[in-house]
Symmetry: C2
Subunit: 442 residues, 2 copies
């Protein structure tokens, strides 16, 4: 007779429903692999009356979280409440009560990871958070286990499905940001309040978790440079195409000169790079290990069953530890607690990369010469120039597109400020800047 491992589920929304469904549908398969049954003993939610996509015994349902926290039979708590206030109290109470934890809550791990992990270490508690980054993609396990022998030289990730969906539609249908966003909201591919996704905050939470697993220390979210996609225009997407690039919202971490670069922004990447083929609401991670070379992982970053798959993977993992009589095999941050050091993030000013600028200028000889003069003065070398007459617009001027060789962010900002301020007789408005990643992706 196989052992039962009792689980308490807190939060019975979409993902919670998926977890219960997966344990119902594949319970026997899981038992054959694990040698134990994963049994949902209690489900807590403020709403236990609305119908779900699945049938559950009404005896399992409660509105009182405490019933789960106080149940001595329950070994693992699955926290699917989301957010940082209520969830944090629940998680800390569960840990103090000696219960292992599985969570999909990236905001919680990114913002309160230190406090939670410390409590977990004290109480000898295991925490699974595979579902918090990249949904069904095994990014956490790959960083903590498969690539444990590697220094991670870089991470390039498409970590937000909503942004990738919007950029994909803007690219394939040559449409503007607002119209695609509104349609995405209508069809449920984007939240009504989309700023958490669109402005890259969700991506920053996920990158912070990846940084901590790769380099051993929690990063302050505010230290990660972040630009969202709301200013993307179809014109820049079209020019990018002319230059052989696709635009993606990338989360980037690069190990350089003993420091870590960490930034999130719309990025031009070469058409033929595998990240460029990640379309729609998929997520993907391009990792570069110093021994492994490129490792690329791709899958659904959200959704009921893909996320449930990751939660159940963690439940099985923790159950295996329980059955092996150990409380945790792999350190939570992938480094032993006593080895965790501060990560020094490179200031954005010191980042060196390639750039795309789109100037809106009057259609008159000599303008390019004045622009390139200022760029040169700031140590920025031009790699290519496109001037297209067809785009002429009397009020906005003609677009002049310039791409650069490697340049320093600080110099770039100074140059653009000088151009926008001192060339205002020939250059209109604020110049568009998009970073290009090419060599560092190879």
């Amino acid at each position: 007779m196989d052992k039962d491992i009792s689980i308490g589920l807190i939060g019975f929304g979409t993902i919670g429903t998926g977890v219960v469904k997966l344990l119902q549908d594949n319970g026997e398969l899981i038992r054959k692999r694990l040698g134990a049954r994963l049994v949902i003993k209690k489900i807590a939610d403020i709403d236990i009356t609305s119908p779900r996509q699945i049938e559950v015994d009404r005896q399992l349902l409660t509105t009182d979280v405490q019933e789960i926290l106080d149940d001595p039979d329950i070994s693992i708590v699955v926290e699917l409440v989301g957010g940082c206030t209520h969830a944090k109290t629940i998680v800390l109470d569960a840990i103090r009560g000696g219960k292992h934890l599985v969570t999909a809550n990236k905001a919680l791990i990114a913002s309160c990871g230190n406090e939670i992990f410390e409590a977990a270490d004290e109480e000898k508690i295991n925490i699974g958070f595979e579902a918090s980054v990249g949904g069904t993609i095994p990014i956490i396990k790959t960083l903590k286990e498969s690539l444990a022998g590697n220094n991670i030289d870089s991470i390039f990730g498409i970590m937000n499905g909503t942004c990738n969906y919007i950029l994909t539609r803007m690219t394939s249908e040559k449409r503007d940001f607002q119209s695609v966003l509104m349609e995405a909201q209508e069809f449920g591919f984007a939240e009504a309040d989309s700023s958490y996704d669109i402005e890259g905050i969700d991506t920053a939470h996920k990158l912070a978790i990846c940084l901590s697993l790769s380099y051993g220390k929690r990063v302050e979210l505010d230290d990660i440079y972040r630009e969202g996609i709301s200013k993307m225009s179809p014109l820049d997407i079209e020019f990018a195409g002319d230059l052989g690039y696709t635009i993606k919202l990338l989360a980037i971490a690069i190990r350089r000169w003993g420091m870590i670069e960490a930034r999130i922004h719309p990025t031009m990447i070469p058409f033929d790079h595998i990240l460029a083929s990640v379309n729609g609401n998929f997520n993907a991670f391009h990792l570069m290990g110093d021994a492994s070379g490129s490792v690329f992982l791709y899958g659904q970053g959200a959704g009921m069953m893909p996320t449930a798959s990751a939660v159940v993977g963690d439940l099985i993992d923790i159950s295996r530890d329980i059955m092996a009589g150990t409380w945790r095999r792999v350190p939570l941050r992938s480094y032993k607690k006593e080895e965790i050091e501060d990560i020094h993030l490179l200031p954005m000013d010191d980042v060196v990369t390639n750039y795309y600028f789109r100037f809106s200028a009057v259609d008159r000889p000599g303008v390019l010469s004045r622009i390139s003069g200022i760029l040169g003065k700031h140590d920025i070398s031009i790699s290519s120039v496109i001037q297209k007459e067809k785009k002429l617009d009397r009020d906005k001027g003609v677009p002049i597109v310039v791409t650069t060789y490697k340049a320093r962010e600080k110099n770039v900002r100074a140059a653009l400020e000088e151009i926008d301020n001192t060339l205002d007789d020939v250059v209109f408005g604020k110049t568009t800047l998009i970073r290009i990643e090419d060599e560092s992706l190879r």
Copy 2:
């Protein structure tokens, strides 16, 4: 003071050198993650005098494998001998001697896995074989752990870098198989005796291992249908392009009607599928879990450091089990031993898929009608036809390319046999058949 875990390395070729180098270069990083030092205590090889890319203490080197097997300090043996005869003896001796094992030997695991795993279970020994399939790609761990809650509905894999390199060059440079193969051999991208790679035998070993992890039982290698790439012609690659397809040597496993389809053959896949963007000597796996949906993993399938990365990942994994005081957390075949059942492979005759045929026919009215008549008689519906005059060759005729809707392999073979035999007044030689995977990849 951290614990030392002593390792004996058997086989000091390219991969062995990579493993020693990685433990030298990243030893301190590994110690910080693991909380123990991985120490190479002995290295056995028949050749201990030739220079390697790294410096090692000559005291570590021996030509006598027994020195490793008899050393009571050594906890883990890394077998990098390759092949099935000598390696099998070593591995069984190591297991009987109570040593855990890490191997990159796919032939051994695929052909003798049953016997080795049984011995390991008896002796409570752990075996890591991540490096045996997909090199640096964490495919074994993903199947055994991350996706443990899923039924695996399908696996589509590019599992042999040599074949993918050759097909990529044939496609991008419109060259024929022989000339690309010879060049690949010259540059060391293909073995002098390339049949193990080219004929899909290497791929069959890897698919057999994936099948066993996904469905719970070793498969007879001979039961896996297998076609290599040596008959691929630039003409078919060109027609595939016209139809929107790229040709890859795919290893395919599909769960259907309670049976498993397992086959290896050149396959047309849509340009815009992510597998189509896997070029050169990279490997990739497109998995479909019933909860996870698509999961795609990509990386270097071979090479010194990428393979060493996987070997060291296994060394860390097994060391974590040792330090947790358990001998093995995850079953070797991903199912508990007592739950392993026979896999029923669908006979190739019963496989249903889409097909591409290229007939060489005389350029005369009525030929297509006779061909399509025979296809129809065998229940094969035509989806598209291409006839290109430009390809005219007096001795070989003009190519007529036909693609089909879903058809049964048995009917396809019968139809082509009838066409090749009874239409020999208008159709020359043997008709080319290439399978198309489209819907099942979505």
